[in-house]
């Protein structure tokens, strides 16, 4: 517990110590999403929380907002324990979360109304917030009449009209196009820099590295399984920041490097993957396409990560899943912020389509225990068929129901590409492909090769 007589300025605005959150699997056992999370948000600070999708960072944000109760640990807002939504904390949502039946004015006024503020007063406050965020003229419009960028402006006005002490942003820009996101972001930073808003601390949850570095004074890298803060990178640059400046690029490179080295590798010895390994969410076709891109000019087998992000136009989150997939399959590795093709990666790119599938299958069975497990079960059964539910249940010992479904869908996609197993959507059965003949030494069957 923080001591009461500590001067106010030294008490962090938000303080989390050893926060833990788990979920209950269908069989009643607990799986941990967040483990031992420590966090401080000091007065006058913008902090970014970066992590892959599903790493629990949104859950952490909701814990801070008082929307979700943690299973362990302590959390304080200005020295007082958080037990529910707190007056001084506002949140901006990825999906905007606007009430469709309320006008812009009605949405902005809602929080003031809940406080019991008189009509005249709240109309005045709302008008000020609407003007500040650049929505004047749209007071009477319904959210459905607005573009995405304007809707999120309403989201900001609605949060800022409460004069929040702390502003939480949950991927607030990720549903917007690049240009709109940039405008809105710099508008917000301007208000912050000029101290035109009462907010004294901002927490930005994001999976966009550049966005995090543009906004934050500190970037926290969040690891998954279980989620915890893994690294912290201070950003000592003046606002407004120039994304093309060398100092900026250097930090971005550093963050990319940190995000792509898995927590597993940091400890030194690489822990073997288990059946419950959370497969990266990336289709096999995309992995092959990336290998082809990197093998080709101008990369010739080695690519700078931010350059690759620009070339592929994929979101950072999609890229990380892609990298991880290629890495665990042994087709690529990442070192010093660069992406390299391994020998197997080159071999795959150069092979004929049928040969490609064989290489992919070989790596898949060797590196991913789940793939090997499914194939083994199918081999052992007399009719070479097994219901998906069987594997889904096994996965649910390790993952949430939704994640299990997602992982199974991913492995089915990979397995289909590798032709090591097939799946019937209607019956929900996994099976060994019928036309398969075990002849590993023969050259690729021509009929399939050009199909």
């Amino acid at each position: 517990m923080p001591v009461e007589n500590v001067p106010l300025a030294e008490v962090p605005m938000l303080h989390l110590a050893g926060v833990r959150k788990g979920f209950r699997t269908p069989d009643g056992s607990e799986r941990t999403v967040l483990e031992g999370v420590d966090f401080r948000l000091a007065e006058g600070e913008i902090v970014s929380l970066l992590g892959r999708s599903g790493s629990g960072k949104s859950t952490l944000l909701r814990i801070m907002a008082g929307l979700v109760r943690p299973d362990g640990g302590e959390l304080f807002y200005r020295g007082a324990p958080i037990r529910g939504p707190v007056r001084g904390i506002s949140m901006v949502f990825q999906s905007f979360a606007l009430f469709p039946w309320l006008t812009v004015q009605g949405n902005v006024e809602l929080g003031l109304e809940a406080l019991g503020m008189r009509r005249a007063e709240r109309e005045q406050k709302a008008a000020a917030a609407i003007e500040m965020i650049g929505l004047d003229g749209f007071e009477g419009a319904y959210p459905k009449e607005l573009s995405g960028g304007m809707r999120q402006r309403v989201g900001f006005a609605r949060a800022l009209v409460m004069d929040p002490d702390v502003l939480l942003m949950d991927e607030a820009f990720s549903a917007l196009d690049v240009l709109t996101a940039e405008t809105l972001r710099s508008d917000l930073l301007e208000l912050w820099e000029e101290k035109r808003i009462a907010t004294r601390g901002i927490l930005v949850v994001s999976h966009n590295i550049e966005e995090a570095v543009v906004m934050a004074d500190r970037v926290l890298v969040f690891s998954s399984d279980p989620g915890r803060v893994r690294a912290e990178i201070p950003v000592g640059l003046e606002h407004p920041r120039d994304p093309d400046a060398p100092a900026f690029r250097q930090i971005v490179d550093e963050v990319y490097g940190l995000m792509t080295t898995s927590a597993r590798a940091v400890g030194g010895a690489v822990e073997p993957l288990g059946i419950g390994y959370r497969l990266p969410d990336t289709p096999s076709s995309r992995m092959v396409e990336l290998l082809e891109t990197v093998a080709d000019r101008p990369f010739e087998g080695r690519a700078d990560l931010p350059a690759l992000a620009e070339e592929t136009e994929l979101s950072d989150d999609a890229l990380f899943h892609l990298f991880e997939g290629l890495k665990v399959l042994g087709f690529a590795r990442i070192a010093a912020g660069d992406f390299f093709l391994t020998r197997a990666g080159f071999a795959l790119v150069e092979a004929e389509p049928a040969q490609r599938k064989r290489i992919f299958a070989e790596h898949l069975l060797r590196s991913i225990p789940l793939a090997a497990h499914i194939r083994r079960v199918l081999d052992e059964r007399r009719d070479h068929r097994a219901p998906e539910d069987r594997f889904l249940q096994e996965l649910q010992d390790y993952l949430t129901a939704d994640e299990s479904q997602r992982v199974l869908e991913t492995i089915i996609g990979w397995g289909r590409y590798a032709e090591i197993f097939d799946y019937d959507y209607n019956s929900g059965m996994l099976m060994i492909p019928e036309e398969e003949e075990p002849q590993p030494l023969a050259d690729g069957p021509p009929a399939e090769a050009h199909g």
């Binding site: 109760r69 939504p85 707190v86 999906s95 009430f99 039946w101 019991g116």
Partner: protein, 626 residues
């Protein structure tokens, strides 16, 4: 209840099941909803669209009456005066057995019509009150929901006229010597045709309020009370209003059936359109029946224009994404343009805000850091106790019911009733199949022609609302005249009113077939039978299913009035469960009424579980692209 909050298994079949609308995936549903509106997707002119977007409840700057007010005032006052007069007529002394003076003179029809309409209005208000208390309780208290939702499912499977048979004597006893008891029984029957699916609709909506809106409400410290009025109810409004309107459409059938009640050998006739028909049947007056049909036709038209369409058009504002074609209503436009009407709306809105504000205060917890956010949770021992209680209740109830049947009726008759049930089930299945064979091709043919769709859709909608029991005498006369087989030829009566649900849903489905798929099929040269098998039938299947489920539920209900029909002194009785219930009701034999209703309930539930639920799963799983 199992883990499905949308609860496909919670739907019964006996009422017009608009709850099913909710269960369809959202995009398809939205499209469908719009297209089965009466009047079809009217193309709003820019001006009208602008007015529609303008909220009804808005601040009107100038309260000076304008020309629109003049147009609106006389009908508004007339309506209020009429309703007040009809209300006083309900409360009159009455003794069982005493005939209520009724006349077949068409000049009395407006009065009868008004009294029938008033019964429906009262039933609708009761249904709304029931919905607003039952659904939130079931949705918010999981322990109660576990019991309340299956219970609602059972209620929904009980034939509506069965409720009437069971409750009428009780209501009469409640108000001895006053007509109010019989009034209440009729109103209750209409209530049962409306309440269940409205409650299901609200329950389903409450369970699917988007989590981001929920979180936003929590972040802004809305108390539970204001969360309900500000978030949950508005979110549920479009579906609830839609269900309400469909319920009322179905209600015409039951108001006609419930006004002339045969109970314990007595026939009680309440002044109303249903009794008028019953009297016309007794006196074999074909001309009077013609008048009645015309009167109901006009009544439904008025109700549709003045009530249904303005409400549905207004509910559009609660939807989160703009519709392609907003439904259009001239009455709503009128109300939104009339200054006085807008002033009234603004006053109501202010009053409403003040009320919810005042009411909220006492319950609002003190704000501040120490305030606890409520996570609804029940201690595990509490849950165990609750579940054990439920089990014991079941273990006691089942043998008790068995013993009652044993002593009052005997097991042999139970077997016979089951066979009657099979006969009625056979009729339902065969007739739904026949109706599908007729209406699916016609519906597709219409649905693929947008202009025709706009003209036909309101007609089909209207036919579905039209109480088919008005037409029964016509069919009975034919059967008697040509001496036809009663078991076969009374069957079509069961689908007479419900087949239109198949038609207008198929039209809606066909007209929303994606045009790019149509083009692709044409481009690939897919024609004839292949086109039907690969493109049209899979494409309209979800919509067809909605229609067929509704039609089947309605047919079970209709069997009670369709399997036993009369014309003057002639009464035709078919072999079936509906006739069994109707006869037992007329004889006042309550154990047999209960048995018949329980068996029908059982059949409907089995049908839902083993036929409709499975087909629904097929539709949801395989025929929806991503």
């Amino acid at each position: 209840m199992g883990g499905r909050p949308d609860g496909v298994d919670t739907r019964g079949g006996a009422t017009y099941e608009w709850a099913v609308e909710l269960l369809l995936p959202a995009p398809g549903r939205r499209r469908q909803c719009r297209q089965i509106l009466p009047g079809g997707p009217a193309s709003a002119s820019g001006n009208v669209a602008m007015w529609l977007r303008d909220p009804v409840i808005g601040t009107a700057r100038s309260f000076r009456p304008n020309i629109w007010d003049l147009a609106l005032l006389p009908p508004a006052f007339a309506l209020i005066a009429l309703l007040a007069w009809a209300g006083t007529q309900m409360h009159v002394p009455y003794d069982i057995g005493a005939p209520i003076p009724l006349s077949l003179d068409p000049s009395h029809l407006p009065e009868y019509l008004l009294r029938s309409a008033l019964r429906m209005l009262v039933a609708l208000l009761l249904s709304l009150a029931f919905t607003l208390s039952y659904a939130p309780l079931a949705a918010k208290v999981p322990a109660l929901g576990r019991v309340m939702i299956p219970f609602l499912d059972i209620l929904q499977s009980i034939p509506i006229l069965g409720f009437l048979s069971i409750t009428v004597t009780g209501f009469i006893a409640l108000f001895p010597g006053n007509l109010l008891g019989v009034e209440c029984a009729a109103i209750f029957a209409v209530f049962t045709s409306q309440a269940w699916n409205m409650a299901f609709s609200l329950y389903a909506s409450l369970r699917t309020v988007p989590s981001d809106l929920r979180e936003a409400a929590a972040m802004f410290h809305l108390s539970g009370w204001s969360r309900f009025w500000r978030l949950e109810l508005p979110f549920a409004a479009p579906n609830l209003i839609w269900n309400m309107m469909m319920s009322v459409s179905g209600g015409w059938f039951f108001v006609v059936a419930s006004e002339a009640i045969s109970v314990s050998g007595q026939t009680i006739m309440l002044p109303g359109i249903g009794s008028y028909i019953a009297l016309a049947i007794q006196q074999r007056d074909m001309v009077a029946i013609g008048w009645a049909i015309l009167a109901v036709f006009i009544a439904i038209l008025i109700y549709d224009q003045l009530f249904f369409r303005p409400l549905v058009a207004w509910a559009e504002k609660f939807k989160s994404d703009p519709g392609d074609e907003a439904p259009n209503s001239w009455v709503l436009t009128l109300m939104q343009r009339a200054r006085l009407a807008r002033a009234v709306a603004a006053t109501c809105s202010a009053l409403w805000g003040w009320l919810t504000d005042r009411l909220r205060r006492p319950w609002q917890r003190p704000s501040g850091l120490a305030r606890r956010y409520r996570w609804p949770r029940m201690p595990s021992w509490g849950r165990a106790l609750w579940n054990t209680g439920l089990m014991i209740g079941l273990l006691v109830a089942v043998p008790a019911f068995g013993a009652l049947i044993q002593t009052e009726i005997g097991i042999a008759e139970v077997g016979r009733v089951l066979i009657y049930g099979c006969a009625t089930a056979l009729r339902v299945v065969v007739l739904i199949l026949l109706a599908s064979l007729v209406w699916v091709p016609i519906g597709v043919w219409i649905g693929l022609r947008p202009k025709l769709t706009q003209q036909v859709q309101p007609v089909a909608q209207f036919l579905a609302a039209f109480p088919a029991n008005l037409l029964f005498p016509v069919v009975v006369v034919l059967i008697v005249t040509f001496d036809l087989n009663v078991d076969v030829w009374t069957s079509p009566l069961m689908v007479l009113g419900t087949q239109w649900y198949i038609l207008f849903n198929v039209i809606a489905g066909a007209s929303s077939l994606p045009s790019d798929l149509r083009d692709a099929a044409g481009n690939l040269g897919v024609r004839g039978l292949l086109r039907w098998r690969r493109f049209i039938l899979p494409g309209i299947f979800p919509a067809y299913l909605t229609g067929a489920i509704t039609a089947s539920g309605g047919s079970w209900n209709a069997s009670i009035v369709a399997e036993m029909v009369s014309w003057g002194k002639t009464t035709l009785v078919a072999t079936g469960l509906g006739a069994y219930i109707a006869q037992a009701t007329a004889a006042g034999d309550f154990p047999r009424v209960a048995l018949g209703i329980a068996v029908m309930c059982l059949f409907v539930m089995l049908f839902n579980r083993f036929v409709w639920r499975r087909l629904y799963d097929v539709a949801a799983e395989r025929l929806n692209a991503g």
